[in-house]
Symmetry: C2
Subunit: 414 residues, 2 copies
């Protein structure tokens, strides 16, 4: 029998009514002839509430203890979903990450899955059970301690399970009904995408579109596991299928426009033009586990360079300290920071081999009077850092320029 | 180094302030030279809230899933206590029942502890850790599934751990500061007891005094493990020591008066006087896991007997059904039930070998106009079922008759 993995996020299991709705979706899939594995997140705000509790008792949380604490969130959801499934007359059994055997690195708070044991799981499925598995958690293969996968980890659990079980598909139920060409709250004409490639989804996920966790898309891409983004509140809506770029009909060069307001810009100004300086800067940041997104190095006529980059606002204080130390070490003039920026990006597998797409974006921005501060490009993405206040205006202008409001009709056929 | 086990109930860890208070008590004990094991319950009303959640999603809860759900309550408390201890500069590690190795029967909701693994625990203690253990839970030795010990199970966890580790003492921190001669809310003159024997405590615990779970006292008695009942809100108060009857100075025949309003009375009326009938009644009830407390069989002159007994009000509906079936089978006339009863009891190891104590109780009741419906006695206990409305009056009269308001001064010396 084909296996279907269904993942339900915190919003989809936030209360008893939602849990019953989700349980019916799982039972319906079983009736359609699937062996069903359900992965659930913690109910609603549970995880945030647990973090608040910890902050109330301690000034410095301990990673091992935090994982034990946070893993209770999903451990509460799973028996509730299992019992709601029982109530519909189907067989179900719940399993924590530890029980089912989701093995991870020995690292707390952000562990990666290293192996999934499927023997017990397959036995439960063959016995006719819907198996309800706690997302976001596992155990360290080395120590047997409970670990968590970090925010968005339940998506990763679901896709990794789908791969390990050779599932037919992995459905990610979230609080949006599909992937859109851009945020419908910014552009009312945003179009639904019936399909999107892993590569585009990956760029969109990384860009803060907040639909799927990038790591889950990465795994799906590597193992060619089809995913569907859909809503538990509209179970008959097929949502958006995420699949290989080779299987896509690429009618449009651009699939989507994303806005990311979570970053800050850091610039080291007046840097002497000597080799090895950029390496020194970014090695120091990497050592402190600070992820850098865009990097732009420019030369001015006086022989002094500027190295500018963007980081997550959360890490700005640490980044600034490190950058200031480096500035002293390398004889640079000063460090400036700007939190008042936004990053607008276009993503599209269809732009490969079609020149002029980036230029079209720059023109759309220029025509609406938006000044570009930094530019970064990849094969299927162009990103521009602009002033924060221009964010919405930029997205609207680009969306219109690439006629994304007309996408839907074409992709309906996919 | 001597080992001290400290158990903190739900009230003692109900919020961040309480958790910090409890952590200080543990750290102080470590500073006094103990290796400290802390057992904690779920915070405040957590367990009740989890039960409510389950009832919202299902009409028929599943014992295995309920245990997985309820075990999260303690799993939330333990990392919080461990981190609060870290904050005080001491080493601590938290352990679920599964992690530390508290093995139980393969029975959900009410499992008994069969074995406690102490190797890991001793290693953590020898490394200087305060080990914070989730009460109320374990794993089935047969299946590896998470089990719970039933209400009051954290007391049992604590005493069983104390026995397994050869601890010097087991301190049970609860929301009362000591054991009293009776409920101070009924009798203002109730006296504190500085010491009480296991046997008396056991009778009091079973009688609904709600200070200690009877199973924990039973284990302490069997292994001669000294326990202290004390309050986390008054850490300098030594509370009440529970110890062997041989070590007690028995100045008073009666140690306490207890009132239990949780029972109902069932009577099978008009029972033919044939052998084996009582056995049939109580075997049928035992098969349905219904615990019967008092039993009184009386013969009337027409050769027909009455078999009356008390059960917990929660089980009255089931009991009534079974009793009615039996009544038909044995040719009895009818079954009557009464929920409007109370059971008042006196307990005292000092009554052994002192005749007239029971008579003193009956006289006190008669003098205050309280009618006795049923009587049951053991070596150290006399219980009477009376009308529910007479409960408080009966307790006051008995407390006064045995001069229990004067107990304190004598037991101060213990």
């Amino acid at each position: 029998m084909p296996i279907l993995v269904q993942k339900f996020g915190g919003t989809s299991v936030r209360d008893a009514i939602c849990i019953k709705r989700v349980s019916k979706i799982a039972v319906d899939a079983q009736k359609q002839g699937f062996q069903v594995v359900v992965v659930v997140s913690a109910m609603g705000d549970t995880t945030d509430n647990l973090i608040d509790l910890a902050r109330d008792v301690t000034t410095k949380t301990d990673p091992r203890e935090m994982d034990l604490l946070l893993s209770t969130g999903e451990q509460i959801s799973i028996p509730l979903v299992a019992m709601a499934i029982h109530d519909l007359g189907a067989k179900a059994i719940s399993q924590t990450g530890l029980q089912v055997g989701i093995l991870t690195e020995d690292r707390h708070g952000k562990a990666r899955i290293t192996e999934i044991r499927t023997d017990k799981l397959k036995k439960y499925l063959d016995d006719g059970n819907i198996v309800v598995i706690a997302g976001f958690q596992g155990i360290s293969a080395a120590t047997g301690e409970i670990t968590t996968l970090g925010r968005g980890g339940s998506d990763t659990t679901a896709v990794a399970l789908a791969v390990a079980l050779g599932a037919e598909r992995c459905d990610i139920y979230t609080d949006v009904d599909a992937v859109y060409t851009t945020d419908p709250e910014i552009v009312r004409e945003a179009s639904r995408l019936n399909a999107i490639s892993y590569e585009e989804m990956l760029e969109l996920a990384s860009l803060g579109a907040q639909v799927l966790h990038p790591r889950s898309v990465e795994i799906a891409k590597n193992y060619k596991m089809p995913m569907r983004v859909r809503s538990s509140f509209k179970p008959n809506d097929q949502g958006t299928l995420v699949k290989g770029v080779g299987e896509m009909e690429l009618n449009n060069p651009v699939s989507g426009v994303a806005l990311d307001e979570s970053q800050a810009r850091v610039a080291i100004v007046g840097v002497p033009d000597k080799p090895g300086i950029a390496a020194k800067v970014f090695e120091s940041l990497a050592k402190k586990n600070i992820s850098v997104d865009m990097i732009v190095q420019s030369t001015s006529q006086d022989g002094l360079n500027e190295i500018a980059f963007t980081v997550d606002k959360d890490t700005l204080q640490d980044t600034k300290k490190i950058a200031e130390q480096i500035a002293v070490d390398i004889g640079a003039k000063k460090v400036t920071t700007d939190t008042n920026i936004a990053k607008v990006s276009i993503v599209g597998a269809g732009m490969i081999g079609r020149p002029g797409i980036a230029a079209g974006m720059f023109k759309a921005l220029a025509d609406s009077g938006v000044n570009i501060q930094m530019i970064s490009t990849s094969e299927i993405k162009v990103s521009c850092v602009i002033d924060a206040k221009d964010g919405d205006k930029a997205v609207k202008a680009i969306h219109k320029a690439f006629e994304l409001d007309k996408v839907s009709k074409e992709t309906q056929r996919v």
